[in-house]
Structures are given as C-alpha cells and as structure tokens.
C-alpha cells in the first residue's frame, strides 16, 4: 500500500497573522511551521504501517508551495515519510481553493496512492474543504474530519462526529481521508530522523511535469476574486479581569456570582 500525506507550510500559530493590503493575500513572511493538523495525518500513516494489518510500502509527503515549503517536507520526513514531492511553480501563486485542489490532485495522480491522508484544516484558513475537492478530482471516495481509522485490506472503516452524532463509514480504497487532531498524538521526531531528513529523496516538480496548464492555476485559474477587505463590526465584549493575584481574582468572581444570585 502506498500512502500519500498532504502537508502544508503555514505561519506559526504564535505569529500574529496579517493580510498584505496590496495583494490582499496572507502575508507569509515570519516564522513558519508544518500545519499541525497534517502531523496527525502523517502519524495516522505511521500507525497504519506499524499496525501490521496491511503492508505499507511507502509513505510520501506531498506539498505545493514556494521554495520555503521544503521545510515542511523535511519535517514530514522526520516524522516518518519515506520521501517527498514538492510542486513548486511561479504560476501557482494566487491559486484559490478550486485551483489549489486541482493542482494537488494532479500531483497525486502522478503518484497513484492507495490512500491520501491530510489534516482537516490548515492553520491559515482553508477550512475543511481540501480533502473533498481533491477526492472528486481523483474520483476517489472521501471522508473528512475523521477521528478513527481501521484498516482492513481493501477497505477502511472511519468514524467521525457529524451533524447528528457519530457516523461510522466503510470506504473502499483508494480513498482520500482528512483527519481531525483527536485521531492520534503525533510522535516527536528523533534527532536521527531530523538529521537524516534532508538526505531522503525529494522530487521537485513544476506544473508541466504533472500535466497542469498555466491557465488552470494561479489567479487565472481561480474562480473567486477578492473585491475588498474590511474590519469587522466592533463587538461589545463583557467585563474582563486579568488574573494577577489569584486570591483577588477569585474574590471578584465570587462577588460577580453573588450579585447574580448564582451562589
């Protein structure tokens, strides 16, 4: 079985995110990291490999992004992927969800995986949709926000919470599954794995290598257009206290509760 894990380089959670007012795109300068949700995808792949129910021949990390995105691939390899593929091309800049999904699907097509795993969302905002976009392009079944995977040969059984409670869904492979962060506890990479990551094979591909036409991606291939950006309406929040002296804080809370006859 061959598993492809999609990964993405995102601004570090600790960095204040901002929009570049000129390009109206996320300002991507500043500290970057591997999207935390994707580490759960890699861990899920590792657990399938170690679980022994199926033979996992290869785990391949795949990303699309500027040259700096190789760092996300190195991290993915340090976490267990055997090799990685980087789709990098100037023509991709400014791709919206539709164009990004198509581009990633084309890269995956060239790998013919049995299972594609990815995080259910990226820290910088592509909410919950990428797995389902890619699956439709690949004509594979898919499920998102999965918190449990059982692999059994040709099919996998997945669980997730949907609108009315827990769903259990059986899916034939090949399939695209996006996972939630409750699915597992990603391991820490060993020092040896971190050191060795740069030596593992990394394929860099341009759009032409995977059959993408320049007009299918980037701003030209995008089907949405950002017209403008505005600050949100001011909201009146409640009273806020900072905890400096906990005894005092607790007194204030109790007084507040008391006033409302809640204690």
């Amino acid at each position: 079985m061959k598993i492809c894990c999609l990964v993405k380089e995102v601004p570090d959670a600790a960095v204040q995110k901002r929009i570049d007012p000129d390009s109206k795109r996320l300002d991507r300068s500043g500290e970057k990291n591997l999207n935390p949700f994707d580490t759960h995808g890699i861990e899920a792949a590792m657990q399938i490999r170690e679980g022994g129910a199926v033979e996992v021949d290869e785990i391949v990390a795949v990303t699309m992004g500027p040259s700096s995105a190789v760092r996300a691939l190195h991290k993915a390899v340090a976490l267990g992927a055997d090799r990685s593929v980087h789709l990098s091309d100037d023509a991709l800049a400014g791709s919206d969800v539709c164009a990004t999904g198509l581009a990633l699907a084309k890269v995956l097509e060239s790998e013919s995986p049995d299972l594609v795993l990815l995080g259910q969302q990226s820290d910088d905002g592509e909410c919950y949709v990428m797995g389902a976009v890619i699956a439709d392009h690949l004509k594979m079944p898919s499920l998102t926000q999965v918190i449990k995977i059982d692999v059994d040969g040709e099919a996998i059984s997945c669980e997730r919470q949907a609108e009315y409670g827990y769903d259990t869904v059986e899916i034939d492979l090949p399939a695209v599954i996006s996972v939630g962060d409750a699915i597992n506890e990603p391991r820490y990479p060993s020092l040896k794995a971190i050191m060795g990551a740069k030596k593992k094979p990394l394929d860099t591909k341009a759009i032409g290598d995977v059959g993408i036409e320049a007009n299918q991606v980037g701003a030209e291939g995008s089907k949405t257009q950002v017209l403008g950006m505005n600050p949100p309406e001011e909201k009146a929040g409640g009273e806020i206290i900072e905890d400096e002296d906990t005894n005092e804080t607790v007194e204030k809370i109790v007084a507040w509760l008391d006033e409302r006859k809640l204690v």
């Binding site: 919206d96 439709d136 869904v169 899916i171 949405t224 257009q225 950002v226 929040g237 809370i253 509760l257």
Partner: protein, 325 residues
C-alpha cells in the same frame, strides 16, 4: 434558469436542519436579485410533506432523490450536479455544518467553480452575489465575488436565520440519479450514533464546561469539583470528547447538545462558533482562559484571563467556604 440551489439536510426522520432552513430563507431573499428562484435538493426522504416544509421557508421547487442515501457527501454532489447542469443555477448555497463543507467542496471540483466558506453574509451587487467571509480569527472580512457560474457559498453556522416566508408548498420534482462509481464506494454503517450514556446536562442550572485547556483527561476532576461545589453538572467541548476525555453525552454545540443554564462557566474553552451555538443562550457566561484573544471573551459576560489550574481550585474552595459559612 438562474437562481440559487440549496442543500436541505435532514436527520432521516423528516426534521430539516436549522442551518439548511436558514440557507433556504437566505436564498429566497436573494433569488430575485440574481434572477430566478430558490430551490432545494433533498435526498433519502420520501415524506409527502417535503414540499410544504421547505416551501414554508421560501423554496419554490424541491428536487428530490429518494433513493440516494443521506449523510454522505459524494452521492449528493452527483445529485446537485445533475440539477445544476439541467437547470442552470447561478449559485449553490449551503448552511453551516460538516456536510455543507464536503458537498460544497465536491461541487467545486466537479463544476470547476469558485467556493467561499465560513461565509457570514451574502450581498447582491449588480445582479451578482458577493460573499462576505471573516478571516484571520475574524480580524478582517473579505468580500468575494465569483468568476463564472455557479458560485458556491458555504455559510458559517447560524449565519442565516430560518425565516418562514409564508409562501406555499414547493413543487416537488422526483429525480432518478445515476451515481458516480466512486460515490458508491463509501457506505454508511451507522449514522448519528449517540455515545456515552444518558447524562442529563440539559436540566442543570449551572454548567461547568471543560475544554482542551484542562490539559488532560484527569484534570476534568477540577471541573467536577467546581460543579459539585456549585450544585451543577459538567459539560465538554468536542475537542475533548473526540480525544476521549469526556463522554459525548456531555458535549455542547453544533454536533452536541444545546443548553441554556443560568450559569455557563467555560474553563479552558476557546469559544469556537460550533461550541458557541450550543451555549450562547446561557443567562450568564463566565470564561476562564489564558489567551486574552480567545473568541470566548467576545461573548462572555465575565472573562477571566488567567491559568485555570491556578484559578479553578481556589474558586472551588471559595465557593465551598461561602456555602459552608
């Protein structure tokens, strides 16, 4: 025909989802502006009342595929693709929720269409729809227009209110849809299973909600002790329920329960919209969170910025002392 097509999610027993009804209401409001009407797609439902139930919220037509199963996205993408390609809708609109994301995403790929998610408002400008989407933890709102048709709009939870428009029953059109081969490769084994027994959190006057900020499963005893001191019960976020720290029966929110106690004390809860929808009607909301930018501080009545591990045990003691004294 132009117009706006909405997916009408239901629970399998004829109860349509509130967010889906909200989306239909919104579509009905906007349809005239883009030329055309609001229509709904329903699968896996053969009740005679679909036309009445959805017409009441402004759907003019209901496209129904009785034999297609509800609950999995890809078969529904097949149905919506057929309806759109045969009738030429300009927009597809989804109410907030997991299935809306999946179906909207599938349609995006299938129709090579633009998509916007987490949309909080939709405006008609010059006969076209513009979606308003908050980004970067709601610090900015972008206005998004669509290039070509259809445009796909996925709402945020509760973005659109269900409004009974007083319209009559919608015309129901039954469809036979041949599913794509890959759409049949996922099979629902069980849908909507309730787990974790019959804990009753709906009746409690005081609820202590525990989130991931508690740090680990064992720390729920902090929430339990506080709840006990206050004569209340413990509730949880999905993040901790998914992680197996607390039973599903105590989960508050979109995919959990809706509560309205006298006091909701949120300990280590960020206040994500999916959680908020389940507890926002509490009479008093008190939040303890160490991140001053946590969304919960925007809608609580009293916000305490600090470490719950320091505050909660002392608060429990203080309440016990007060009650004892």
């Amino acid at each position: 025909m132009a117009g706006i097509l909405v997916y009408a999610l239901h629970d399998g027993e004829g109860n349509f989802n509130k967010n889906a009804l909200g989306a239909i209401s919104e579509a009905a409001k906007l349809a005239g502006e883009v030329g055309g009407e609001a229509a709904a797609v329903v699968v896996g439902y053969d009740g005679d009342d679909a036309g009445e139930k959805l017409g009441a919220y402004g759907a003019a037509k209901v496209y129904r595929a009785k034999d297609v199963p509800e609950g999995l996205a890809q078969p529904i993408v097949d149905v919506m693709t057929k309806v759109i390609s045969e009738n030429g809708f300009s927009y597809a609109l989804f109410g907030g929720g997991l299935l809306g994301f999946e179906i909207g995403a599938g349609l995006t790929a299938r129709l090579n269409a633009g998509v916007t998610m987490e949309v909080t408002d939709v405006e008609a400008r010059d006969g076209k729809l513009v979606a308003l989407r908050p980004i970067l933890q709601d610090s900015a709102i972008v206005d998004v227009a669509y290039v070509g048709e259809p445009g796909i709009i996925i709402g945020r939870l509760n973005a659109f209110d269900p409004v009974e428009s007083g319209s009559g029953a919608a015309e129901v059109i039954d469809l036979d849809v041949e599913l794509s081969e890959f759409s049949t490769k996922a099979r629902m084994v069980t849908r909507g299973e309730q787990r974790g027994g019959d804990v009753n959190i709906e009746d409690a006057d005081v609820l202590v909600g525990g989130g991931r900020g508690l740090g680990e499963k064992d720390n729920f005893k902090l929430a339990e002790e506080l709840a006990e001191a206050m004569g209340g019960a413990v509730a949880a976020t999905r993040a901790v329920v998914d992680a197996g720290w607390y039973p599903y029966a105590t989960q508050i929110g979109q995919t959990g329960k809706t509560v309205a106690p006298k006091l909701y004390l949120a300990a280590g809860i960020s206040g994500a919209i999916q959680h908020k929808v389940g507890m926002q009607n509490s009479e008093n909301i008190l939040a303890i969170n160490k991140d001053p930018n946590a969304p919960i501080f925007e809608f609580c009545d009293l916000g305490v910025v600090g470490d719950l591990h320091k505050i909660v045990p002392k608060l429990t003691e203080a309440i016990k002392a007060k009650k004892g004294g």
